[in-house]
């Protein structure tokens, strides 16, 4: 397939691996931000092709994994109402809240529907005027334009029965939080290609300068990731801390201006709690006040949902790249995709699930 098979090519992979080997002189730890990249790395065993001097650690860029427990509980509370059709992307449905997940709500009779686009949820609202239709708007900057578009479309259609439960998170504040932590051992980042497709990479330049780290905007196919690693190692070995763009076939420096315009119209920056990590200032989007009629948190009386997550698994450390899933005593034993203790074991993009599916023999 054009633009796909070239990026999964055996010869290119071998060549890149050889080049990476040749230029790597020191020990380096690189974090890929995005869960999609983590998934690719494990799915194609890219780590097997790299010299032992390079450690890949996995970042917090799995939207399912970092959506806070309270938000899942709010979703469950809304979805359980008989006057609601609750819509969501597929992989949010299995994430455990403090007691249930959305699939269990569905099994108990709740009208929970999987959609492929927030605009599908708007269509459901049009078709069901007697029901309140709520879309679970999670994700990084990548999904924000489409979710914003859904709100704008609903307003243009004059819909009074559509709202979103908004839990958007942002990448640069997460990098800032990781780097300002006293125990950061990260030497370089692979930034998330799709986030940068929307946002561009201007906002990464001050981070790179402040923390003296190279940041390489990277795609998702195995060759993309190997190229991203090559560029990052090259910068590290030559002592350069700049932002480079491996994913230039998609990402422009300024991003997608139209998409950013939608985001700026509908959302504003807010503090956001990240599951397993904690509160990160100015790390999320919320709906602007002028769109509050589409804000599910304002429409439904959700009371105070405040749940503390007990310290059982090491999801927080995994999400910050402090540990890899194989270091968790519960991995593959008490904690499996059927019985996940933490969200990274639920989502296909979660680091724990990726290790479980592609690497578990290394535990045994």
């Amino acid at each position: 397939m054009k633009y796909l098979s070239e990026f999964r090519d055996y010869r290119s992979a071998k060549l890149l691996a050889k080049k990476i080997n040749e230029i790597t002189k020191h020990n380096w730890t690189i974090m890929e931000i995005c869960g999609g990249q983590t998934h690719s790395i494990l799915k194609y065993s890219i780590d097997e092709l790299l010299p032992s001097k390079i450690s890949l650690i996995h970042g917090p860029g799995c939207p399912v994994c970092v959506t806070p427990l309270e938000m899942i509980d709010k979703a469950i509370k809304i979805a359980s109402r008989s006057d609601v059709i609750f819509t969501s992307f597929g992989d949010m449905l299995r994430v455990p809240g403090s007691e249930l997940d959305l699939l269990s709500v569905k099994a108990s009779g709740g009208d929970v529907r999987m959609v492929y686009s927030p605009l599908d949820a708007v269509k459901i609202a049009q078709a069901n005027p007697d029901k309140k239709v709520v879309f679970f708007a999670v994700g990084f900057e990548t999904t924000a334009p489409a979710n914003g578009m859904a709100v704008l479309t609903a307003r243009n259609l004059g819909l009074k029965n559509f709202s979103i439960l908004c839990s958007h998170v942002l990448v640069p504040p997460a990098i800032e939080a990781l780097m300002s932590g006293f125990n950061s051992n990260i030497n370089g980042f692979l930034a998330a290609g799709h986030v940068c497709t929307v946002m561009g990479f201007d906002e990464y330049i001050p981070l790179s300068e402040k923390y003296k780290i190279p940041i390489v905007v990277t795609g998702f196919e195995p060759i993309d990731i190997l190229q991203g690693i090559y560029k990052c190692i090259y910068l590290l070995e030559s002592g350069e801390a700049i932002v480079d763009n491996q994913y230039s076939r998609v990402v422009k420096k300024e991003g997608n201006l139209e998409a950013k315009n939608i985001i700026n119209t509908v959302f504003e920056i807010t503090d956001r709690k990240w599951r397993g990590i904690g509160l990160i200032p100015k790390s999320g989007y919320k709906l602007k006040d002028e769109f509050s009629e589409f804000d599910a948190e304002k429409i439904f009386d959700l009371g105070d949902i405040n749940v503390d997550e007990p310290e059982i698994c090491i999801a927080g450390e995994v999400l910050q790249g402090l540990k890899i899933p194989l270091e968790c005593p519960a991995f593959g034993k008490e904690c499996t995709p059927e019985n996940p203790l933490g969200a990274p074991m639920v989502s296909t993009e979660g680091a724990c699930a990726a290790y479980f599916h592609y690497k578990k023999q290394k535990v045994n």
């Binding site: 098979s5 071998k14 194609y44 065993s45 597929g90 403090s98 997940d101 099994a107 492929y116 799709h194």
Partner: protein, 347 residues
């Protein structure tokens, strides 16, 4: 910054049936072992084969049953009726049997269009005739509106096991090659695109087909087949994992050799689905002695249902069941049993 290292509360067993319990993955497996085998277990059922092989008066019969609840009932490339006939034929074929007789049970929702029923029945008749099997008994139940979803069909089937053929995972040998008769994931993607209203440039069609004539041809050139399996729900990954587990062998497959159409691959990329786990309805995996592989491939490639047949893998080792895949970039990864339904991811 104040970091709280915490995690979600544990979630263990489900106390209600979820859709994933029917997905063909780990939850289905748990349901079968913990509930059904727990009570029904016997020497036939315990083999967890596509059907049971029963010996009556020195004749070996294969007996199988399957229920069809597909939504939508009419889809690109077929409908629920021919799926029900072909599916049961294929289960018998995978027991190494020549399919002979089929039963049909209809559960129909009040208000269902007679015209739609007629269309379904016509295609069942055509599918049965084409495969040379007879529909010999049946049952009809009608449920109140809202108590079913249009129509559900159960089919059971009986066939006679071919002489000299002994199909069982226990017979899988190190060195057996794994042959697949064509492109994967077409049925699942056809259904999904129809159900979700997804449109692609070309229409992806279900591959529903009865495999008995293909297997007839194969059996003319070899009896050295240890296992045949139609990789339906759960796709080729689940089928291979089941075989690896019951045969206690290590299997390696080659990503580059697995036939898949560009349209299906594109759809999977868009939706974030792994085609290895997506349903097929006209595909068969054959574990064949390596020395017979060439002649098997020859007859398969001369049959309309096997034109793109390929060797997609090999049995590497006895002990510790595992399926691995040589990836396109030359590395090796595990192909796991899926835990539930594949859910399209967020981004």
């Amino acid at each position: 910054m104040d970091f709280q290292l915490s995690c979600p509360i544990p979630k263990s067993e489900y106390d209600k049936i979820l859709i994933a319990h029917g997905g063909g993955g780990t939850l289905t497996h748990q349901l079968i072992t913990k509930i059904f085998l727990n009570q029904f277990g016997n020497e036939y059922l315990n083999q967890l084969h596509d059907g049971a092989i029963l010996e009556i008066n020195k004749t070996r019969f294969a007996f199988t049953t399957d229920s069809y609840v597909v939504n939508p009932i009419f889809f690109s490339g077929g409908n629920i009726g021919e799926l029900a006939v072909n599916g049961t034929i294929n289960d018998l074929v995978c027991c190494g049997a020549k399919p002979l007789f089929i039963s049909t049970g209809f559960i129909i929702e009040e208000g269902f269009e007679i015209e739609d029923l007629w269309k379904i029945v016509l295609s069942m008749k055509a599918a049965a005739d084409k495969a040379n099997v007879m529909i010999v008994t049946g049952d009809t139940k009608v449920v109140e509106k809202g108590k079913g979803d249009k129509i559900f069909i159960n089919t059971s089937g009986i066939g006679i096991v071919y002489d000299g053929l002994n199909i069982s995972p226990q017979n899988v040998k190190v060195g057996d090659v794994i042959i697949l008769n064509g492109r994967i994931a077409e049925h699942g993607i056809a259904i999904m695109s129809e159900r979700e209203g997804l449109e692609f440039e070309t229409k992806i069609q279900s591959d529903t087909a009865a495999l008995n004539s293909l297997v007839d041809e194969i059996l003319k050139v070899t009896k050295n087949i240890s296992v045949m399996r139609d990789p339906t729900r759960g796709g080729i990954a689940s089928a291979l994992n089941e075989i690896a587990s019951s045969a206690n062998v290590k299997i390696e497959i080659y990503e580059e050799e697995i036939p898949i159409s560009e349209d299906v691959l594109g759809a999977c990329e868009i939706l974030g689905l792994d085609p290895l786990y997506i349903a097929n309805e006209g595909k068969i995996l054959l574990f064949v002695q390596e020395s017979d592989a060439e002649k098997v491939l020859n007859v398969m490639r001369n049959h309309p249902l096997g034109k793109e047949s390929k060797i997609i893998g090999k049995v590497l080792d006895k002990g510790s069941p595992l399926v691995t895949m040589k990836t396109l970039i030359g590395s090796t990864r595990i192909v796991d049993m899926i835990s539930g339904e594949q859910l399209p991811r967020i981004c």
